[in-house]
Symmetry: C2
């Protein structure tokens, strides 16, 4: 056939159908009989029709593009989540436009506006910058992961249950006092449930406890410095007491563990530690760290499926929009390693 582009005209002539029929084949195949669809499909093959996807997008509005907004690739949790989402290509064929927000709301909004102009079919949002109400106003399918989700479909870890598991494990380790270290998180984010789960569990059983909410800074050095202050304070004020420390992510748990090992050469009986996420750092630390494992593959898979379900609905001739957003919860898995008994 040479390199000439095949037009709708060519296909119409070859099949003896009208150009309208050919156009329908691409834009609304449901409106044709299966026989007609087969005749056109055969013609395309015979004519060696090379699909111009861009032309097809223009006609059908089906871009097969999905946007992903992540806050940062520095945290291994997000890199792993992104990896799992991307791997859905093999199953669903969607191509992902990835944007790293770095907490700049204006740039993030500009980027999303561009993606909308490019007619992306859906959006997966992990960054915390744009309120879910605004995300819902874009009128395309959206799924959020581990962030405020009042107006959007979402998939989150059961953070509350994870915190209950971690707190209970530390108590079973016969700790005299339980600590929870966390960042300043808003009560509307799923991660806040880690604090709530810790407090409820301690209060229910009358376990002595202390919640330390603080900001750790941006660089590794700042994080280590702040953690060292907390460590020194524990050493001074709670000397002789067995301390159970539940830390809201493995990166910080690793820093805390290193400070202890550098001082004592080993993990003394006086400390027990549980992290959160089951990041690679939890396994590769000087002592493998006990942690509440997020099922990242499962979260990513459910998020993509929830999005595909909405995107497919919109392709129907009479789509039924969701009455209310769907919120899915994935159970965390406690990993007992060397920093607890």
């Amino acid at each position: 056939m040479g390199k000439k582009n095949i037009t709708f005209d060519d296909i119409a002539k070859y099949t003896n159908f009208s150009k309208t029929t050919i156009s329908r084949y691409f834009n609304a195949p449901d409106s044709l009989t299966l026989e007609t669809q087969q005749v056109v499909a055969d013609a395309l093959e015979a004519l060696n029709y090379k699909e111009n996807k861009v032309a097809r997008i223009l006609a059908s509005g089906k871009t097969e593009f999905v946007g992903i907004i992540i806050p940062s690739l520095y945290m291994h949790y997000y890199a792993q989540m992104l990896s799992s989402i991307l791997s859905s290509y093999e199953k669903f064929g969607y191509k992902f436009l990835v944007f790293e927000g770095n907490q700049d709301k204006k740039i993030e909004q500009q980027y999303i506006q561009e993606l909308l102009a490019y007619k992306i079919e859906g959006l997966i949002v992990l960054s915390h910058t744009i309120p879910s109400k605004e995300l819902a106003s874009y009128h395309i399918p959206v799924v959020t992961i581990e962030r405020e989700d009042q107006y959007t479909c979402s998939v989150n870890t059961d953070n509350y249950m994870g915190a209950v598991q971690a707190t209970s494990l530390l108590c079973k380790n016969n700790c005299h006092i339980l600590f929870h270290l966390n960042q300043q998180v808003s009560p509307t984010t799923p991660g806040y449930q880690r604090i709530q789960g810790f407090l409820d569990t301690c209060q229910e059983h009358d376990w002595p406890h202390k919640l330390i909410k603080t900001s750790f800074g941006k660089t590794y050095e700042e994080n280590e410095k702040r953690m060292n202050e907390i460590f020194q304070e524990m050493e001074e004020s709670y000397s002789g007491q067995k301390k159970g420390v539940f830390i809201s992510n493995d990166t910080h748990a690793n820093i805390f563990l290193n400070l202890i090992i550098r001082k004592y050469g080993a993990l003394p009986e006086e400390y027990r530690i549980v992290g959160f996420d089951d990041s690679p750092i939890a396994s590769s630390a000087i002592l493998p760290i006990s942690t509440v494992g997020q099922q990242i593959d499962k979260i990513a898979q459910q998020a993509v499926e929830l999005l595909v379900m909405q995107m497919n609905e919109r392709k129907k001739r009479k789509p039924t929009p969701l009455a209310t957003p769907i919120h899915q919860i994935v159970t965390p898995i406690l990993k007992r390693r060397a920093t607890t008994d």
Copy 2:
């Protein structure tokens, strides 16, 4: 203006130009005088013209899409590189379609074929799967990073110099014997120069040395097991000698360091260690690890600029293709930390 879509017809009527002129404004603005361009631009604003990017792509072939093929997001090096590349959006406006190859050549080829059908403007390739000759055959601008690059433009770290720096530092630490641990790498990849730099430096100065090329496996547990075998062998065969160990990445250097600290409680005089990459794990290890730092931001920036240069050239009315691929080299920076003197 309400929600009505503005057509070329509307713009033509408003400006009193022909539809051909309006079309040229979008597809070949260079063919119009600056005055004419200004009149059309003003009209678009007055008419509140909402750009349909897909229509514009179809007309101009300028999608502003760039594909990125990375081998894996598990290695922090790639996550960081991806992050740096994505951040170029603010400067150049390109949107990135990201694919994680996981060494499946067939899926990777299928994905690239799809991207070509979507008329991406360029491609950045970090995965090793597809030979550069095949990448060059796509006839779109390509830049590769730290992989075989005979037929493509590329940006690489000066791996040879990095190896010379690491080897010399270990020798200055008065080590009796120098080791280099690396994976089975092909001589055509830039990473092979780490081996070459180590061997040349040792041979030039007649320093006793041993190259250990091995495969480490896929999981953390397999990697740790293999590293432990190597450690035991060193303990038995080189006891009493001061061992300088240059390890080809920080992930492995961290595993090696942990094995030593677990046995001795501290880093004994008998061991000195240098890693490669300056990954976050190098700073957050039980002892901060000396390492050859790759300037990831700089590599990413040069790669994007090299790609943009080629993409801009192709938009000219008479593009001049590159006579030969351009290969750029970025100097590594030696970071001296606690695992060397």
